[in-house]
């Protein structure tokens, strides 16, 4: 009996640790450090309909306990994913989540249509990229736009549909409810928080895009809070992410209400971080006499 197995929107993951989109490419690089079969799954680099070059450099600025990035969804496009990356990824014995990041509703529909017959296990509809001018967070910051794109993709896919939410909104629970009503099977959160750094000497923003998305341990408490709020606002499962770096962080995120977690920037400090989290969760379950890690999901006892 695998204590770590979790089921999200009908998809069973061997453990609740998924590498987050944008942090692990299509999995090939980190496969040098550990077999991808050690993971619950991989959410691949956000893909657009056509290849995209992304923003000019510099695209990264370090911050206390984290980093800003402004990559801007550089990716080879959905067809290259299906042709060049997916056949390899299918052989790695891990769940595959396709992160879909179209510029328009029609783009998102078309990407979902092309993925439909493939071995992809789940779609993660990215309505929250802060680094692109079209699509991205423009979808994720209005309930109406978020619901529209979710409903549109819903019509083109039979795969479980997870929607990745932006924290750069007044009320993330309203967006979560809107995408739930539009047919989402799960939500994942949080994408990065919009931030900025300035070089004192040149008086220029460090990022060529001026602003970028903050990730890393710096955002973890915000992510825990938002996951807790959203888990209490919707009936569909929540996948929690944002600054998770240790197994203790993963447990905390699950107690807040996450059915599974995604790990991103932590791998930049320690490539083995996702696997260490898996091992830590296994030990935690054994120590605590927990039969199934799902028992802890949403188990926080909030103060009255």
């Amino acid at each position: 009996m695998n204590r770590l197995a979790v089921t999200v929107a009908g998809v069973t993951f061997r453990n609740p640790v998924i590498t987050a989109s944008g942090a692990c490419g299509f999995g090939r690089e980190y496969n040098h450090f550990y077999p991808l079969s050690r993971l619950g799954g991989i959410s691949v680099k956000g893909m657009t309909l056509r290849p995209q070059e992304g923003n000019l450099p510099p695209r990264v600025a370090e911050t206390p306990a984290g980093m800003l990035n402004s990559v801007g969804l550089q990716n080879p496009g959905v067809d290259a994913f299906l042709q060049d990356e997916l056949p390899w990824l299918e052989k790695q014995d891990t769940r595959i989540i396709a992160n879909v990041a179209g510029h328009t509703v029609e783009d998102c529909e078309e990407i979902a249509r092309r993925i439909e017959g493939s071995a992809v296990d789940m779609i993660e509809l990215n309505i929250s990229c802060p680094n692109v001018k079209q699509g991205g967070a423009a979808f994720g910051t209005s309930c109406m736009a978020a619901a529209e794109v979710t409903a549109a993709v819903r019509r083109y896919t039979t795969k479980p549909l997870m929607v990745k939410l932006s924290p750069n909104v007044t009320s993330i629970t309203e967006i979560a409810r809107a995408v739930e009503a539009a047919g989402a099977d799960a939500v994942s959160l949080i994408n990065t928080l919009l931030g900025m750094r300035i070089d004192l000497r040149t008086r220029r923003p460090i990022l060529r895009n001026n602003v970028g998305g903050l990730s890393g341990p710096a955002v973890f408490p915000i992510a825990v809070r938002m996951v807790w709020q959203v888990a209490n606002a919707v009936k569909i499962p929540v996948v929690g992410m944002g600054g998770i770096a240790t197994w203790q962080d993963a447990v905390e995120m699950m107690m807040a209400g996450a059915s599974a977690v995604q790990v991103g920037a932590a791998a930049f400090s320690d490539p083995m971080a996702p696997v260490k989290i898996v091992d830590g969760l296994a030990e935690y379950c054994a120590d605590q006499g927990i039969e199934s890690i799902s028992e802890i999901v949403g188990s926080v006892h909030p103060w009255e």
Binding site: G22, G54, L56, S269, M272
Partner: protein
């Protein structure tokens, strides 16, 4: 690419801001090529620091890093003492082409000099080095370059040591004396631009090592983009995986 905690065997301060650290890393050294780099963890900082490999000793199983303190992260690295461990991911990137025969000119500018020592050493006497520094107090590794089998040409911007002026003056002179089959360079962008221009005019193949802010260092996160041209099309490629060494005709500086 391997990850490991590597014991520091030797540590020296070369100038006010430049440190010289040798670590025990037999498996990494066995795989490493001149021009590759390591991602080094700096205590208290979220991102690793990409540092070029200065010298690879496969027999001794060591890697040598010569780096400049530029901020808190590299300052933390500079404080590590002999006997302490350095957390490395290495070797990373592609490294310079190593011609099986023929001669090369290697050019280093400032903190771009250290990786070129490894390149020059791997040519066993077939490499002539031209090294550029701001002034006498910034000159590093001159005696190490003598071990390459040819005396290096040292230039300083202010003329306080060696030849006065920029490395490209010395490059033009060297080409006239003995035309190389390849020019390999690492240094500040204005220097690289000038070197590429000389190589282009002379019709000599040239490779340059680029620098960019990095996060993962292994090709996954895509932050270390650089502008390149291939087959007439401009593309953003990545210094950590596609580079750091690029053919001169492919880079847009």
């Amino acid at each position: 690419m391997l990850q490991g905690n590597c014991e520091i065997l030797k540590r020296e301060q070369l100038t006010e801001t430049i440190f010289d650290v040798t670590v025990s890393a037999p498996e990494m050294a066995a795989k490493a090529k001149a021009g590759q780099f390591a991602q080094i963890r700096a205590e208290g900082f979220f991102l690793r620091r990409p540092i070029s490999i200065c010298e690879i000793d496969k027999a001794a199983g060591t890697l040598r890093f010569v780096f400049e303190v530029r901020g808190g992260g590299t300052e933390a690295l500079s404080r590590l003492a002999v006997g302490e461990k350095m957390d490395l991911i290495a070797p990373l990137g592609n490294g310079f082409t190593l011609l099986p025969q023929g001669e090369v000119i290697v050019i280093g500018g400032g903190i771009g000099v250290p990786p070129m020592l490894g390149v020059a050493l791997s040519y066993h006497g077939r490499a002539k080095a031209i090294l550029g520094f701001r002034s006498r107090s910034a000159v590093i590794l001159e005696s190490d370059f003598i071990r390459t089998g040819q005396m290096p040409v040292v230039c300083t911007d202010d003329g306080s040591y060696g030849k006065a002026g920029v490395v490209t003056n010395a490059l033009v002179e060297q080409i006239a004396l003995r035309r190389p089959d390849l020019i390999a360079a690492c240094g500040p962008e204005p220097m690289l631009r000038a070197v590429i221009e000389v190589a282009r005019k002379e019709g000599i193949p040239c490779e340059v090592s680029l620098e960019q802010r990095m996060a993962c260092g292994v090709g996954a996160c895509l932050v270390c983009a650089c502008r390149t041209v291939k087959n007439g099309e401009e593309h953003l490629r990545h210094v950590c995986k596609d580079g750091p060494v690029f053919p001169a005709e492919e880079v847009l500086l």
